[in-house]
């Protein structure tokens, strides 16, 4: 598993696309938080909070994480190296976990530099240090869980096709549906009696809950179970090669 993790990380770090995705994430975040008048601008709100970052980050993740995961299995399938990989003395789940952890580490690497914003707001606060650090750390945890779900969805979509573009579009759509799709369904008048239950099925509801800085075991179970479900789906998708012929 760790060999695959190292291989994935090194292949990501040696390619330009890896750096581009991280730079784009940081640049868009920085521009919306500190630069342009976006509605989440720290200077405009005049509040010592990082709520803006945790509001826009999931939307950037919707494109960033599929871009990271799109090549994980699709490229191997296209190059024909998937057969070699699957015949190695490693289990399918080790391969998937290696790739999943690599994607999660890349997400972590792109989120870590935003800690600088926390230091900036801490320094800018009046009085200095007037910042809810615990709450922000809880929100970071929520962002990491969200990244975990998106990464598992992305890896699953990558295992379905040998085209990276198809994998990217499919995973972006699936992440979007899982994130806010249920909220839209809950707004349908016909389903108004079950609106709360339906919206609880979506990621956004749990992410907003954990972003308040209160770690609820229900949210943690939800995030972990959805991630595990998509990892299971990836495993079945890989093993479905035995169905054909």
């Amino acid at each position: 598993m760790f060999t695959i993790l190292k291989k994935e990380l090194s292949s990501f770090m040696t390619s330009l696309i890896g750096y581009i995705t991280i730079i784009v994430f940081l640049l868009v975040n920085a521009l919306l938080l500190w630069g342009i008048n976006s509605g989440v601008n720290v200077f405009d709100s005049a509040l010592a909070t990082l709520n803006g970052l945790f509001f826009i980050s999931p939307w950037i993740f919707l494109f960033l994480i599929p871009a990271i995961t799109m090549k994980m299995f699709a490229e191997e399938k296209k190059n024909g190296t998937i057969e070699i990989l699957l015949t190695k003395p490693v289990s399918d789940i080790s391969i998937i976990m290696g790739k999943f952890l690599a994607a999660l580490i890349i997400v972590l690497l792109s989120v870590l530099p935003t800690m600088v914003y926390m230091i900036c707001i801490y320094e800018l606060g009046s009085p200095k240090g007037n910042l809810d650090v615990g709450g922000i750390l809880g929100s970071y945890l929520g962002l990491l869980f969200l990244g975990g779900i998106f990464a598992s969805v992305g890896i699953f979509c990558s295992s379905l096709t040998n085209s990276q573009i198809v994998a990217f579009i499919l995973s972006a759509l699936m992440c979007l549906t899982a994130y806010i799709g249920f909220d839209f369904i809950a707004q349908i008048p016909f389903l108004s009696n079950f609106d709360l239950t339906i919206s609880k099925l979506g990621i956004a509801n749990h992410y907003e809950s954990i972003s308040r800085g209160v770690i609820d075991s229900r949210d943690v179970i939800y995030f972990l179970s959805i991630t595990a479900f998509f990892i299971l789906l990836t495993k079945i998708s890989l093993e479905s090669r035995n169905w054909k012929k």
């Binding site: 615990g134 770690i215 075991s217 939800y222």
Partner: protein
């Protein structure tokens, strides 16, 4: 009898096996290969793999739903905020 046919087509003058004979040999080996494939990968075994994957998926889904339902009744909260 068939072996006799094949050997009879061996040309002594040229020292080569005729095209028709090689075609027959290929047909024979093809039949053997498909027979071996049938034994090695029976259809029922493939169906079992698919069935076991469906069962895995259903069990996985059931565990996840059950875990979330139980988690809704038994839960803990860690408030990291300063406003308590």
């Amino acid at each position: 009898m068939k072996n006799k046919d094949i050997t009879s087509e061996y040309s002594e003058t040229t020292g080569k096996i005729s095209d028709r004979t090689t075609e027959k040999m290929y047909k024979k080996t093809g039949k053997i290969k498909s027979f071996i494939n049938k034994i090695a990968n029976p259809v029922s075994a493939k169906a079992d793999v698919k069935k076991s994957h469906i069962i895995q998926l259903v069990i996985g889904l059931a565990i996840i739903i059950l875990l979330n339902i139980i988690g809704n009744f038994i839960f803990v909260k860690f408030d990291l905020t300063q406003e308590k």
